[in-house]
């Protein structure tokens, strides 16, 4: 009795499946082909998809490495000359303190 019921319901479902319309069958076929196409895509070509991202990552790493390791510029002799030549700061070249400034500059260099 139970097996008859199970068999009958199975037959009806099979009949319903056999009646699927052409549009649905066509879409199922397209779905299958789309799934299989991705499997056919050779592995050796897939790595090419990652080239742009890889190149960008390498470029970024190089920029960060070079930029990060660049030493902070310290004032050198040229900067001192600029300061002394600056018309807005004449006080450095006036008075009796000139020797003091020379001594201070030597201390900085050493």
């Amino acid at each position: 009795m139970s097996q008859d019921f199970e068999r009958r319901t199975r037959e009806v479902l099979e009949e319903s499946t056999a009646r699927l319309d052409g549009r649905t069958l066509s879409r199922l076929t397209r779905a299958r082909h789309a799934a299989l196409d991705q499997a056919h895509r050779p592995l050796r070509k897939r790595w090419r998809l990652y080239i742009p991202a890889g190149a960008a990552a390498v470029a970024l790493a190089v920029i960060l490495w070079v930029g990060g390791s660049r030493p902070v510029a310290e004032p050198g002799p040229v900067d001192d000359m600029d300061m002394l030549a600056d018309s807005d700061a004449p006080v450095f070249a006036e008075g009796d303190d000139l020797e003091f400034y020379e001594w201070a500059a030597d201390e900085i260099e050493t």
Binding site: F5, E6, R19, L28, A31, Q38
Partner: protein, 199 residues
């Protein structure tokens, strides 16, 4: 550079290409053998043709992407595991959106698209009376199945319609074999109660 040439050379050997081609043919045969029943299961679970097609296509894609290398005996339970998970996820999203489809009639996808005379052509059938009888049986049964609780519906369709055994059904549903037996028994009882006079 040398390594690349060697790898490429090995990959292009006729033996590997033949193996790849055989595996591809086996996959195509498998997908072709399950796609109609898979669609029917998704259609009954989702009550919408477009969503059902999306669920089947997603399951095909994921199987090929992730499990193509597995042995072909594993494909069926894996495929239905992916499909039932996809159906369940769609059902949950609908619940979240508040779209309670159980009280709505099955949407006819053709309503949204142009009429296709070839697609709509009736299949060859022995007699109009027999066809009408089958139409009624299909409608009644599918409505009853669609209204089963999801787990009972899955157990019934995978066991009775798709023909998976208890172990495969448990694998596909992600539950124990005992749960499969319980869900299947309750599904049969529910359907018998509703369809007893018709079937």
């Amino acid at each position: 550079m040398t390594a690349f040439v060697i790898v490429r050379g090995v990959y292009n050997t006729p033996v590997l290409r033949d193996q790849e081609s055989m595996a591809s043919r086996a996959l195509e045969q498998f997908l072709s053998s399950v796609e109609k029943r898979a669609f029917k299961i998704a259609q009954l679970g989702l009550r919408n043709d477009d969503d059902a097609l999306d669920a089947v296509q997603d399951a095909m894609m994921k199987l090929v992407q992730s499990y193509a290398a597995r042995s072909s005996e594993e494909w069926r339970p894996l495929f239905y595991r992916i499909l039932t998970n996809g159906i369940r996820d769609m059902q949950r999203r609908r619940t979240v959106r508040g779209r309670i489809m159980a009280w709505l009639p099955m949407r006819d996808a053709e309503d949204d698209e142009e009429f296709d005379a070839v697609a709509q052509a009736p299949s060859a059938d022995p007699t109009p009376a027999r066809r009408l009888e089958l139409d009624q049986a299909i409608g009644t049964l599918e409505t009853a199945i669609a209204e089963l609780p999801p787990r009972q519906q899955q157990a019934f369709l995978l066991r009775n319609f798709e023909g998976l055994d208890v172990r495969e059904t448990a694998s596909a549903m992600g539950c124990s074999e005992g749960s499969v037996k319980t869900h299947y028994f309750r599904a049969l009882e529910n359907l018998r109660t509703r369809l007893g006079d018709v079937f």
